[in-house]
Amino acid sequence: MLDRRIFKEIDWTTILLMVVISIIGIIFVHSAIYFQASKYVWKQSAWLVVSLLALLILLVIDYKVLLSFAFPLYILMNIILAGLLIFGKPVANTRSWLVFGPFQFQPSELTKLAVILFLARLFSDYKEDRMSFKAFFLSSAIVGLPFILIALQPDLGTALTLIPVLLGTYILAGLPKKYLVVILIISCLVGFIGWNYGLKDYQKKRIETLLVPDQDPRGAGYQLKQSRIALGSGGLTGKGYHKGTQSQLRFLPARHNDFILAVIGEDLGFLGILAVFLIYFIFLFRLFSAVQVSPDRAGVYIAFLSAMLIGCQFMINIMMIVGLFPITGIPIPFLSYGGSSLLTNFLIAGLVINVKMRRFAYVRF
């Protein structure tokens, strides 16, 4: 049964970093929300407590047990996603919410967890030095199915967060160069077909905006422009907490989620940004270094894919709000407002901690 020793191995530092980042997020959600700010603060605080509890529960269960449920979980999540597409009621034009009375949840968030576990399970016995075509195809399909289901909701932003997981798999498994060519060809094909038939107008606009930011200053380019103004006008030390005109006067869009970092940059300036980056970097570093202490292949995959998932979301967001990446609606894990996203990120980071605390393998006879 449970070995009490492993609880001494819990990585409390990482958990603390997660909580700190979440609290910074809550503090600036208060600055960003103009109206009934405390309601948002309480809601997010409650989610933080729930997420923390969920994390601790997750830690009790050995990740190897979780792995044995990976396949059914993955199947279940895809069925839910497919069902949502067919039966779901649109909320804000997307069919991404599962509604149980007053309780709402985005299954797409939990899907990330299932995908990571399933991939780890699949590659736990894969000892080749280079990725075989079979493995390449299988891993692509595992990520591809939920990607398509989520993209169809349509929630391209969340779907795109799955891509780093696949990318992580390719990296770990050692993708041969010839497959890179295949990926490139497929991407071009998908890109071409997607641009002409798949992407919605607003999505195309966002990509166009990245290329020519000033062509539509009140449309998609407007968000980018306002976000840059917020950051740039913040300067070195910022305008002070609650004093940023860009966020207080609501020029900045989606201030409490996608653009929360712009609020921090406006209120606290470059020093504030630097501090957030530093804390985040330490956090990511700790996630990645879990790979080195992982007892088995599955653990390595779990740690690495989770770090990729959270790290890439962070990178994409910080590039997005200054115009280095299209505006895709990807929030910063832990920092941005949003309950199910906070919970999911706690669970994903929880997987890494789970692996780390069970780093000593015991051979049973």
């Binding site: 770990l172 609501r250 020029f251 992982s294």
Partner: protein, 595 residues
């Protein structure tokens, strides 16, 4: 128990490499943040300021215009206008469509208007409708949330309480055109600003225009005001007092009601005009709005040309009025004395051509005062036969004809005093002596404006001192602008004798006679007919062959106080129509000003 580890070194290597790439990328991104936040800080700071601060002009009221009794002729009234803030426009064409629907405007018109002002200062609001009704104001207010790009503002709007009265003195306002803004960069006109476009409103535009104030306010992203940051109050323009006397003005307009013509009443000592009528008139209130091209077109296309300021822009043949100039020339050059007499048999044959007097039976033998009194053509033919046209032209110019009077009104015309040089230049021919005969009685190519005739009359009344007419009152230490002709005052007395007889001794000007008021005057009738006008008169069932009817005179004979000049287009003989009208004006002036 033994720990057994798999060989995971390959995986760890790959993971480490990824982390290194991550770190490098993060460092590069941080450098980009440095650029935005530190290097470009000033630029973005300004953009943030511009984002949340909005500057609105606070329009200054124009100065009021008073008559000489301090009755307000041009007032200001609060009026609502609505502007489109271009900084709030998210989607140009869609917004324009929605707004035009809300305000009941034509989409293309609104679009054209926005395009016209596109080159203006980027965030300047463009006025799209003014003089709103209260219901429209309420409608816009109620839908504030839906239309953050609309901005309601109260502006002082020009209002002329007496409507058509004195319109040709006051002028009117219209929206400044894009060309005018471009051509007058120092004027600081805003797009959509109303400026004086005619008469006093134009002449004294700078004086009447106040200094606009400015309101700087904080706005949120929807353009809603969150409070004032700074406010500079507008400064009202300076008031202007006209020399116009509303009672005389009204009376004069009443007398010309239904006729086309002009009346000027002025004081010969100061040049101040007490009445200035150009008939028909128009209602300047109708031009204040920026948006009624149909109405505007209907007025400028009216064949009676109500916008034409006949007082200074109507050029007419002076007819017998000009006889005073011929007489003056003859006396000054020593050709005749006031006792020189000629015989009028009703007509005279000169240069092989029959020249008729207007009085068929003939006036018999008469001297100069009698000739002026009866306006005898034959007498002046005799003078014209003996005079050189250039001599007449020289004296006419000395008296102020053929040039602008210099009145404080824009757009004055010069008229025309023909000379041999003029003919050579314009028609390439030499002057025929026979033409001088016509000029001597004010026919031929001679053209004068009613104001020139009034100024000439003032010069006669002043015995040779010209005065520059004006429509604004002389105030404080201001002095009338006078100019000596250098002619002998005695000469003028002789002509005035004739003019006195014309009114008071049953002459042609008898219609102007007022008992107890020594009026000296001269009539004139000119046969100038434009076909267009003749046709219009036929349409109205009137006799088309009528002549323009003139009367000009002053009173009293000694120490004259007032000059009255009347022109009635197609009014018939001067004595029939113009003289009685002038008489009425003299009468009213006497009742009001002579005790």
């Amino acid at each position: 128990m033994a720990k057994i580890y798999e060989d995971l070194s390959q995986l760890i290597k790959r993971s480490r490499l990824t982390l290194i790439i991550f770190s490098l990328l993060l460092f590069l991104i941080l450098a980009f943040y440095w650029k935005i936040q530190i290097l470009d800080h000033q630029k973005y700071w300004k953009m943030a300021e511009a984002n949340h601060l909005r500057s609105l002009p606070l329009p200054a009221p124009r100065g009021l215009i008073y008559d000489c009794q301090r009755i307000i002729l041009a007032d200001n009234q609060p009026s609502f206008k609505v502007s489109l803030l271009r900084e709030s426009i998210k989607n140009d064409s869609q917004t324009i469509e929605r707004v035009s629907q809300l305000l009941n405007l034509r989409t293309e018109e609104l679009k054209a208007r926005m395009d016209r002002y596109r080159w203006l200062q980027t965030y300047g609001p463009v006025i799209i409708k003014d003089n709103l009704k209260l219901e429209e104001v309420a409608l816009i207010e109620a839908r504030r949330e839906e239309f953050p790009e609309l901005q309601l503002q109260v502006e002082p709007r020009r209002y002329y309480p007496f409507e058509t009265t004195a319109a040709h003195v006051l002028g009117y306002l219209q929206e400044v055109s894009a060309e005018e803004i471009k051509n007058n960069p120092y004027k600081k006109w805003r797009g959509g600003e109303m400026i004086g476009k005619a008469a006093v409103e134009k002449q004294y535009d700078d004086y009447l225009t106040g200094q606009d104030g400015q309101l700087i306010e904080t706005v949120d992203s929807l353009g809603r005001s969150l409070g004032e940051v700074n406010r500079i109050e507008p400064i009202k323009g300076q008031d202007l007092v006209l020399s116009i006397d509303l009672d005389l003005q009204k009376k004069a307009e009443e007398l010309l009601e239904g006729k086309e013509g002009a009346i000027i009443v002025l004081e010969p000592g100061s040049g101040e005009c007490l009445a200035w009528v150009s008939s028909p008139s128009y209602d300047p209130n109708r031009f204040i709005t920026r948006f009624s091209p149909e109405e505007w077109l209907s007025i400028i296309n009216d064949s009676a040309r109500p916008l034409e300021n006949r007082v200074i822009r109507g050029q007419y043949s002076p007819g017998s009025i000009f006889k005073v100039v011929t007489a003056l020339t003859s006396l000054e050059t020593g050709l005749i004395t006031d006792r020189t007499a000629f015989f009028c048999s009703g007509s005279i044959n000169l240069y092989g051509k029959e020249f008729a007097c207007w009085f068929k039976p003939g006036h018999g033998l008469l001297n100069l005062p009698e000739a002026l009194k009866n306006s005898c053509n034959v007498y002046f033919y005799q003078l014209g036969r003996r005079l050189n046209v250039d001599t007449i032209a020289r004296y006419a110019r000395t008296l102020g004809l053929g040039q602008i009077t210099g009145v404080d009104m824009p757009g004055e015309k010069e008229g025309l005093i023909p000379s041999s040089d003029w003919k050579k230049k314009n028609q390439g021919e030499a002057w025929y002596p026979g033409e001088t005969i016509s000029v001597a009685i004010g026919q031929g190519p001679v053209l004068v404006t009613p104001l020139q005739v009034a100024a000439l009359t003032a010069c006669l009344a002043n015995r040779g001192i010209k005065v520059k007419p004006r429509v604004t009152r002389l105030e404080g230490k201001m002095e009338a602008v006078k100019d000596k002709t250098g002619l002998n005052p005695e000469t003028f007395e002789k002509i005035i004798e004739g003019m006195w007889r014309s009114v008071n001794a049953s002459g042609t000007g008898h219609g102007a006679y007022q008992p107890g008021f020594d009026i000296c005057g001269k009539t004139g009738s000119t046969q100038v007919i434009s076909r267009e006008k003749a046709e219009r008169m036929i349409k109205r069932g009137e006799e088309p062959a009528k002549t323009h009817s003139w009367f000009t005179g002053f009173a009293p004979r000694y120490q004259p106080q007032v000059v009255v000049t009347v022109l009635v287009e197609f009014g018939g003989m001067g004595g029939q129509t113009a003289a009685p009208i002038a008489g009425q004006m003299f009468k009213l002036y006497r009742e009001k000003y002579v005790r």
